[in-house]
Symmetry: C2
Amino acid sequence: MPAQVGDALADVDTPALIVDLDAFERNLAALAEAVRGKRVRLRPHAKSHKCPEIAKRQIAHGAIGICCQKVGEAEAFVAAGITDVLVTNEIVGRRKLERLADLARSASVGVLVDNPGNVADLAAAARRAGSTLEVLVEIDVGAHRCGVAPGAPALELARAVSSQAASGLRFGGLHAYQGAAQHLRRPAERRAAILRAVECARDTRDLIESSGISCATVTGAGTGTFLLECNSGAYTELQPGSYIFMDADYGRNELDSGAPVFSQSLYVWTTVMSAPAADRAIVDAGLKAFSVDSGLPLVADRPELECTKASDEHGVLQVPIGAEKLRVGDKLRLVPGHCDPTVNLYDWLVGVRDGRVECVWPVSARGALL
Amino acid sequence: MPAQVGDALADVDTPALIVDLDAFERNLAALAEAVRGKRVRLRPHAKSHKCPEIAKRQIAHGAIGICCQKVGEAEAFVAAGITDVLVTNEIVGRRKLERLADLARSASVGVLVDNPGNVADLAAAARRAGSTLEVLVEIDVGAHRCGVAPGAPALELARAVSSQAASGLRFGGLHAYQGAAQHLRRPAERRAAILRAVECARDTRDLIESSGISCATVTGAGTGTFLLECNSGAYTELQPGSYIFMDADYGRNELDSGAPVFSQSLYVWTTVMSAPAADRAIVDAGLKAFSVDSGLPLVADRPELECTKASDEHGVLQVPIGAEKLRVGDKLRLVPGHCDPTVNLYDWLVGVRDGRVECVWPVSARGALL
């Protein structure tokens, strides 16, 4: 454990993942404020934090429940008292289906489908467990990952789900997440992508409802675009996750006017372990302390320094000519390139306010791969 | 836990990290064979596997101990019965120094320095713990990460360490790891880089010894170059780590003639969770199941398929025209781009032989960041 409640930030051992609680709470409030009075529910994505303490705070700020991606995540959150979980993913394989259906005996559990065989497997698992699963049909609204095509293929699956009502499946609606739009840099690009997603979602919903099947939920949206889905009239539920933490990659998005500004709250706290040259310092955080899929981290406390390289346990910082030198033992906050896979590297989140550790939260679903 | 001993591989839950035990054992034997009769000791790097069961097998194949990078790793290995650990890293900060010095009461513990202040801190910690730390001076032999310059700066540090003999520091020698050479693709490039490293190491050793300080150990080398260091006459100890597993990045190295061929033994076992289009399938392994710092994974069982994208929990496979389609539920082995940070994402290594699970080993030092 890198810290105890009451420790000074300067004494927190490194590398550690710290959360600026003031910024974190501003982010919680900013999302709640942004959707106030709108006809949408909030179901934030817990894959970003994997931390029940955070889920509880999101629910206290008006969320109706959470999303997660893995059965193991859902189990960790239900065990911690979260009662409404949507697994925004297709779940395949006998053991996972059994666990999912079992979980639905003690919580409201939803799951996605994009394949008729999977509908039958879910129904069999729910029947065996004696539970009810809410099933949403995932449609591909432009991200080209999972999901059936909008329109007739989605209707067909909705019918397949509805026909299994006796076996414990309840058709919930559509999952229409445009993940590829979240990091388009310009507001106009994001608007265009979400406009198409909204059309797909609305047309498919209308098609399903016109065939006599109620399609109560249309869910999706992320931190980069949620206000667009919110104002679309088509989406009933929003799933942003990263907004509580933010990261360097989201920081590169140009903001839409009127969109709430979320603050960076998540940092990798690191120590200079070597300063072998005037222009170079080495910190004790590398590929096992931050994810680099969306680029190297930024140096929050010294933006003139550049992280130029990372190896397994080392980060290399370039110190420009004329900049104040780093000394062995100096501690710095890094902004990770991508928050979600970075959080997954840690067992603890260290909450800090006014330079003191206020809480140390377990990342309970860290490594919940199954 | 993704599997039980005796399970068929087909029943191992996904994503899981599996080890082909035949290939793994061939790799253990191949390294032992490559250095047989040479005047070098083997001290494999355990940062790659973080798994005491593997360390024990390396020692059974002639290793004198292990390397690791973090105090927490060293603690995990000593707790599991490994008695000789070299932390190939500078250790900074009061709490870590205390833990390191404490550990040296129950095992032979070495550590690196590249800074005189750190020498004093190590001495103070060893004095307080009443233990002895073996200290090696890290020299920068071309990787430009940590380490003092070869020659006089290294001698100065060696003197500083030797002067602390009364306080429980023992000067062990030089750490001269050329990490940047490991993935140079061509044998001639690697030879040139290691030739320079060997010169630096030998000249510095001679300088230190000529000043009356014994410099018994010169340690370094990785999977990409170890035979060069082995045959140099200057290195006394070799630290390869990845050789037991290998990865896609090492697979891109052109091999030197005469170098042992290590086999891929580490795979991410994954399930097709969605097959929404003829040319695309989605597997249940993404950025939280493999590291992408050295590129996306290869599809071992279907090399004609390309992993074109990874998001947090999804991998996108491109299926070329004419190739056999993937179906939901199909399982595949992926070769991770980089083994070390991939292993760090898992709590278990599933050892497989002849299609059956033979062992499930805990990755005891997973997440040992401190």
